[in-house]
């Protein structure tokens, strides 16, 4: 029996009761392991908390006031933004490029595998290898630059450390992000491309007017995920520059970790975390709205 295409979806009665059992495991996970500790953390942000002795001393907004006056507050914001913009900028463009290449130029599994290889290596190891490869004195990259007669580059100087870290993570994540986008490209029906091919048009034109718009929900998703993840960068810096030189790579998570573990000031660390959470929620919400991630352009 064939189904007539309806232009407007019939309004169903609410699927709420059906939805509940579908959501229960996820909701339990959310409440127990995210919401409850999260709320507890928010409460702790209004106190002075020594995690070892268990002492909790309520101190109102003192942590927040201190945070806004802390020199690290503005600095963390600047350097974290610097990281996010460079990282996401390059990563998204390169990943999109790779995904389209995989989609339109080759079906080779080998290439897919190669492109994903960096992601298979733990980010701590990736950081250590690049720290060596980019070393001013002993690194391979500078050895090549030097042998070409050019000036060696201090990749981990105060000015370049953050961009270098950003690019190291681009290297690691471009294949992974490409794979996510590729999965989305798979979902675009072939006949849309066939129609575009019949209409005539260059690859670039097809990409711009067909692929990109239809990729919107997936791209929106990828951007929200990667931006939110990018803001929480920690391991790469913890293993290499550790927040230095001076405070050039002192991103939020490094600062929070230092306050929590180094200074044993969990209340203050919680306050900074709460700020970061709010910042990220606003950014995620704005991104979702701007990119209309809730809708699909595929009107069928």
């Amino acid at each position: 029996m064939s189904v007539q295409m309806v232009t407007k979806r019939k309004k169903r009665k609410s699927d709420f009761l059906v939805a509940v059992p579908f959501m229960i495991p996820a909701l339990v996970g959310l409440v127990v392991f995210v919401l409850i500790p999260g709320i507890r953390g928010v409460i702790l942000s209004f106190s002075e908390y020594n995690v070892f002795t268990g002492e909790v001393k309520f101190n109102g907004f003192a942590n927040y006031i201190r945070m806004f006056q802390d020199v690290h507050f503005a600095n963390s914001f600047m350097v974290t933004m610097e990281y996010v913009l460079i990282n996401i900028g390059f990563q998204t463009v390169i990943a999109l490029f790779i995904a389209v290449l995989l989609h339109r130029f080759t079906k080779s599994h080998v290439v897919k595998g190669i492109v994903l290889l960096p992601y298979l290596i733990s980010n701590v190891i990736v950081a250590m290898i690049w720290y060596w490869l980019l070393d001013y004195n002993l690194g391979f990259v500078n050895a090549i630059i030097d042998s070409l007669g050019m000036q060696k580059i201090t990749f981990f100087s105060e000015q370049l450390a953050m961009p270098t870290i950003a690019m190291i993570n681009v290297w690691r994540h471009m294949g992974y992000t490409a794979l996510l986008i590729f999965a989305g490209l798979q979902a675009i029906p072939k006949d849309v491309y066939e129609a575009a091919a019949i209409d005539g048009g260059s690859e670039w034109r097809i990409f711009r007017s067909v692929t990109l718009p239809l990729l919107r929900p997936v791209l929106a998703f990828v951007l929200v995920i990667t931006v939110v993840g990018s803001f929480q960068i920690f391991d790469t810096i913890a293993v290499t520059t550790k927040g230095g030189p001076v405070i050039a790579t002192d991103v939020y998570s490094i600062w929070i970790s230092r306050e929590a573990w180094g200074n044993n000031d969990f209340g203050y660390a919680s306050a900074i975390s709460v700020f970061l959470m709010i910042l990220l929620s606003v950014i995620a919400f704005a991104q979702t709205k701007l990119l209309s991630a809730n809708q699909s352009d595929l009107d069928r």
Binding site: F52, Y136, N137, E158, V246, G262, N263
Partner: protein, 445 residues
């Protein structure tokens, strides 16, 4: 619906075997856990544990080793979970926090009961390092370290610098003394011109005379503390004292001279030395000398290769007419969460005794704290072909000064570290030290 109930049931059933706990051990015998970070010391301590078990058959010591970063994570997580080490190798950098957070046990009652001569048994000064302002003794000294110059003998030979010259360097903040002359002579630019010769191109250095190992932050233990001390500088007025002297002109002069080595081309700039560490730079022939601690001896001497032959030299004699070296002592602490304090004490007592320290001495990795054991260690190093007089001279001539222990060390570091980094990278000058000192003083008001 049904499928979900099945899945949930399966999940629980599958998970049960994963959560079965290990059965408790035999009640009569106790096992205590011990932690340390240096894998080179593991064989020595394992032997101590075996010997200890022979002497105390009802106590077994299980040793776990984890590298520095992971080690302290484990120690702290252990306090929180209650399942951490019973006894662990401790460090003065974290000792004040452990006391404040009540994470370790005071040992006074045990020391008194077992009549341990804590104030006379060990090298002078070490025991006092582990006595907190609350008057309690928290550890028995186990080993100590001092600072010396690690150099590449192949390079010093090529430069015509004899071992005798190397062993008798002098320094002052004005012209750097023979210390600077040696560093300059060992620096070679891309064209083979040495740092003290005409035509030296300080912008194209191939081999640096000395390495900067970061700025050293507030302590400069391995970087500049020995220079500042030989210039008569003290960071504060004693252990736990809160009267800081980062604003002293003696320190300013020292740091200014040291940072000046970068401008002269003898030492890599802050940006250029960020990365692979000094031992590997020595091994690769990128630098001729580096100052560091005795705990690195085994590692550096193990890096010997076609380009690199390690040699040690004592720190230079300064304006005070004497050498200086920071003197740090490690001890073992007992966790406040231990379920076996009596057995833990027996192990700590053994670690602090000559029986164990002699074993450690024989492995030639560190200098144990008991003087007779120290002498044995020196012999063991010599037997391995390593002349450690450069480290030991400070003990013989009493030219050591204590590692700075203080409360709020972390907050102090947050203030002084970026300032030192900035001075060494050339973005601030030594006058910034005064501002930092004011901020540090304010912490204790």
């Amino acid at each position: 619906m049904k499928t979900f109930k099945t899945i949930a049931a399966l999940a629980v059933a599958a998970a049960l075997p994963l959560s079965v706990a290990v059965a408790p051990a035999n009640a009569a015998a106790t096992t205590i856990t011990y932690g340390l970070w240096d894998s080179n010391q593991l064989p020595g301590y394992q032997q101590c544990a075996n010997d200890f078990h022979k002497a105390n058959p009802n106590i077994t010591v299980k040793i776990t080793q984890a590298g520095w970063d992971d080690y302290w994570k484990k120690v702290n997580a252990g306090f929180l979970s209650g399942q951490g080490f019973d006894v662990f190798t401790s460090h003065l950098a974290f000792f004040p926090d452990f006391v404040t957070n009540k994470q370790i046990l005071p040992l006074d009652s045990y020391i008194k009961k077992d009549k341990v001569a804590v104030n006379s048994l060990y090298q002078p000064g070490l025991a006092s390092l582990w006595k907190a302002p609350d008057g309690h003794q928290y550890g028995l000294p186990k080993d100590f370290d001092t600072i010396a110059v690690f150099a590449n003998k192949k390079m010093t030979d090529d430069a015509g610098i004899s071992a005798a010259t190397l062993a008798n360097l002098t320094w002052n903040p004005t012209d750097g003394g023979t210390y600077e002359k040696t560093i300059a002579h060992l620096t070679i630019d891309k064209n083979g011109v040495r740092g003290d010769e005409k035509g030296f191109d300080k912008n194209n250095v191939a081999v640096y005379g000395i390495w900067m190992e970061g700025s050293g932050g507030g302590d400069g233990q391995t970087q500049w503390s020995f220079l500042a001390a030989s210039n008569g500088w003290k960071v504060n007025d004693g252990p736990w004292n809160t009267n800081y002297h980062y604003d002293s002109p003696k320190l300013a002069a020292t740091i200014k001279w040291w940072a000046g080595l970068v401008d002269k081309g003898y030492m890599p700039s802050f940006a250029k030395q960020n990365g692979v560490g000094w031992p590997d730079q020595l091994a690769a022939g990128k630098v001729a000398m580096a100052t560091n601690g005795s705990w690195m001896t085994g590692y550096v001497f193990g890096l010997k290769n076609a380009k690199f032959e390690p040699i040690l030299a004592p720190t230079p004699v300064g304006p005070t007419g004497k050498r200086a070296s920071m003197y740090n002592g490690l001890a073992d602490n007992i966790s406040a969460k231990t379920k076996h304090p009596a057995e833990a004490w027996q192990w700590v007592k053994y670690l602090g005794s000559a029986a164990c320290q002699d074993v450690i001495a024989s492995k030639a990795v560190v200098f144990p704290a008991i003087p007779s054991s120290t002498a044995k260690a020196v012999k063991a190093f010599t037997a391995k072909g390593i002349d450690v007089d450069a480290f030991y001279t400070h003990i013989k001539n009493k030219t050591t000064f204590l590692f700075p222990i203080a409360n709020k060390k972390s907050q102090i570091n947050t203030i002084i570290n970026p300032v030192m980094d900035a001075i060494m990278s050339g973005t601030k000058d030594v006058s910034a030290l005064k501002t930092a000192n004011d901020q540090i003083t304010a912490l204790f008001k």
